[in-house]
């Protein structure tokens, strides 16, 4: 009787144990014993192509991580795809990532419209998505468990930039030049919010479509408004075109912009030097920074990706992947979307080469800081402030 009971208990124990073992060995999408599969889209062609460097920069970090032995015995296998800044293509890429490649997570991804085209699809499939490369509010409103935003909000950034121009630099007549989509419009909201608080009128608001190549009438409107300072939230090509048109008709103003145009070396080159004096906000260390991580990454870049230019958009890609990697480290060997989410929620004022990030169980907006700089004649930047918190 005792033997029979013991046998029953024993077999029950092994049955339960085997069930538990079976459950825990259920494969996690994109995670094998030796690899973690991640993906990123970014415009490698088309009008947003300069921002495509972000995706390549993230690739450098993953290569470095792999060179240093990987994370908990796993190497990162990274897939990069060109969506040409077109939401329809982003949709196809997201489907490929989830259904064909089976990625564990998506990193970065330039663009608001492009990201919005796939946000719901990725969340329905419980794909962790870290750091959409866009400061739109859409990533955290409504709350998404598997989506962690990093980029400082356009709205708050524009609010603070207007404050810098108005209260610190003394400009009274401020105009706005923006891209006619969520990216530009949310910046416009920030500018208007500040000016409304101070009971000042925005002297002009001028928008450009992504495909526009002739901005002569745009600049005439800005000139006619008598603007002393112009805030722009546009693509690099539009910034170059508007400065060139402004110079042609002798329109002089203080130009200021968000971190979307913070690659001063690129901007100096395409504006033939007209970028001097532009006020910029930044979300990453400056290119020549002596920050130990920047020194380390620059060294690896020369070794692993010598063909790449050490520009801000490129190494920003590293900054957009660093907190994700830290989350994977903290999640340990048992990496699942949920264990990664829990690990990410433990990041408090954690900082790599980008903005300091903090997440929590109900906090998904990690980046809340920027610093300001002004472009010098040699293309380098003079730091005007230290890291400033822009989102309350």
């Amino acid at each position: 009787m005792v033997h029979r009971t013991l046998a029953l208990l024993g077999s029950s124990f092994f049955f339960i144990l085997s069930m538990v073992t079976l459950a825990s060995s259920q494969p996690v999408r994109g995670v094998t014993d030796t690899e973690i599969l991640v993906g990123q889209w970014g415009p490698q062609t088309g009008p947003g192509a300069p921002w495509g460097a972000v995706a390549r920069g993230s690739g450098l970090l993953f290569k470095i991580v792999n060179q240093e032995g990987g994370i908990h015995g796993r190497k990162i296998k990274y897939s990069i795809r060109d969506d040409a800044y077109q939401p329809a293509k982003t949709k196809a890429i997201a489907k490929e990532f989830v259904d064909q490649i089976g990625v564990f997570a998506v990193i970065g991804g330039v663009g608001t419209g492009t990201g919005m085209a796939v946000r719901d699809y990725l969340m329905e499939n419980k794909v962790p998505w870290f750091g959409p490369v866009s400061g739109a509010r859409n990533w955290t409103h409504p709350f998404q468990k598997y989506l962690f935003a990093l980029y400082p909000l356009y709205d708050d950034e524009a609010y603070n930039l207007t404050d810098l121009l108005h209260s610190k630099m003394g400009f009274k007549k401020i105009a706005m030049f923006y891209q006619n989509d969520d990216f530009g419009k949310q910046g416009l909201e920030g500018v208007e919010r500040y000016l409304k608080d101070k009971e000042i009128d925005l002297v002009a608001q001028v928008s450009a479509e992504v495909t526009d190549r002739d901005l002569s009438s745009h600049v005439l409107k800005l000139k006619k408004s008598g603007a002393e300072a112009v805030i722009m939230l546009v693509m690099p090509v539009h910034a170059a075109l508007i400065l060139s048109e402004a110079a042609k008709i002798g329109f002089k103003a203080q130009w200021a912009t968000s971190n979307t145009l913070c690659d001063s070396a690129l901007m100096m080159q395409i504006t033939k030097g007209s970028w001097v004096g532009v006020v910029n906000s930044f979300f990453s260390e400056l290119p020549d920074s002596n920050h130990p991580l920047m020194v380390k990454y620059r060294k690896w870049q020369k070794q692993l990706e010598p063909q790449e230019r050490w520009g801000l958009f490129y190494y920003a890609g590293i900054g957009f992947a660093e907190p994700f990697v830290e989350g994977v480290r903290r999640a340990g060997r048992n990496l699942t979307p949920d264990s990664w989410v829990k690990a990410m929620e433990t990041l408090k004022d954690w900082q790599g080469i980008g903005v300091p990030v903090t997440y929590g169980p109900m906090e998904r907006q990690g980046g809340k800081h920027v610093f300001y700089g002004k472009v010098r004649p040699d293309g380098s930047c003079e730091k005007l402030t230290d890291w400033i918190r822009i989102t309350k």
Partner: protein
């Protein structure tokens, strides 16, 4: 502001006109709409950029070498792709040009990368002339002059040279032209070469006005096509007039009505013209060749 809008509109319209003329030259001879026109101009401009920036070739030599490249590219395309098409229909040939456009776009992205660049150009895009209070930048002024001179040369070429007359004859009746001893196949190649050269000039001017990057011709190509439809796809003076009109109308619309809908004007014009006068402003009513 009105005068300024008109002047800027004329400068950008001159570039549209050149693209329209490049398209019309081919359309007149073969009825093919060359959708690769923009990318052919773009790659020629990248060649000019490499010669000027990387190899520091003096501008006149770089220009000559760019024209040579544009000619070779067009002849290569005509000989290797279009002429080899089996029982080609016009639609089939148009699709081939679309495919070639994508090949060129991909090649440029691979070879030169996606970054935007500034084309070294002998005329400043910042300095300006002041004509009695009307400011016209040097680059806008010279864009207008270059375009007008090129249009005049083309006019003389088609009107008074044997080759120009042979091209017109080929367009009017291929069989009769062949019977009269015109080597029509050679004429087709020459047509593509001439169109590619005009496109290269437009590409360089557009890059000098703005920036150089792979998608730089997407918008101008559509506007050039709209200019052609507005002026008449079989009329060179029509294409020139269409470009100038489109540039000015677009700018005035942007300045006085709405900037958001400025880009749409070109397409509204296409629709309107096709409804009211499908042949365009200066072309005779289209009659299908039999």
């Amino acid at each position: 502001m009105f005068g300024q809008l008109v002047v800027s509109g004329l400068a950008v319209g001159a570039c549209y006109a050149l693209i329209a003329i490049a398209m019309v030259i081919i359309y007149k001879t073969s009825e093919v709409l060359n959708f690769a026109q923009g990318e052919m101009a773009m790659i020629s401009t990248f060649i000019a950029f490499t010669l000027l920036e990387t190899h520091q070739v003096p501008f006149p030599y770089a220009l000559a070498l760019t024209f040579l490249f544009a000619i070779l590219l067009a002849v290569f395309f005509e000989l290797v792709f279009l002429r080899q098409a089996k029982d080609p229909t016009v639609l089939g040939l148009i699709i081939i040009t679309l495919g070639f456009e994508m090949v060129l776009m991909g090649f440029v992205g691979w070879k030169w990368g996606p970054d935007q660049r500034a084309l070294p150009f002998p005329v400043s895009n910042i300095e300006a002339y002041n004509f009695y209070g009307l400011i016209i930048s040097k680059i806008n002024f010279w864009t207008l002059i270059v375009s007008l001179v090129l249009m005049f040369i083309l006019f003389l070429f088609f009107r008074y040279t044997k080759l120009g007359i042979a091209m017109r004859a080929t367009q009017q009746n291929q069989l009769a032209a062949r019977v009269m001893g015109i080597r029509t196949k050679w004429i087709f190649s020459f047509t593509w070469a001439l169109s590619s050269m005009v496109g290269a000039v437009a590409g360089m001017l557009i890059a000098a006005l703005g920036v150089l990057d792979p998608p730089m011709m997407m918008d101008p190509l559509l506007k050039g096509f709209a200019s052609g439809v507005l002026g008449g796809m079989t009329s060179l003076p029509g294409a020139a007039l269409g470009g100038a009109l489109l540039g000015v109308i677009e700018n005035l619309f942007g300045g006085y009505v709405s900037l958001s809908f400025k880009s749409v004007v070109a397409f509204a014009i296409i629709v309107l013209m096709l409804c009211i006068k499908p042949s365009g402003l200066l072309a005779k009513h289209y009659v299908k060749k039999v």
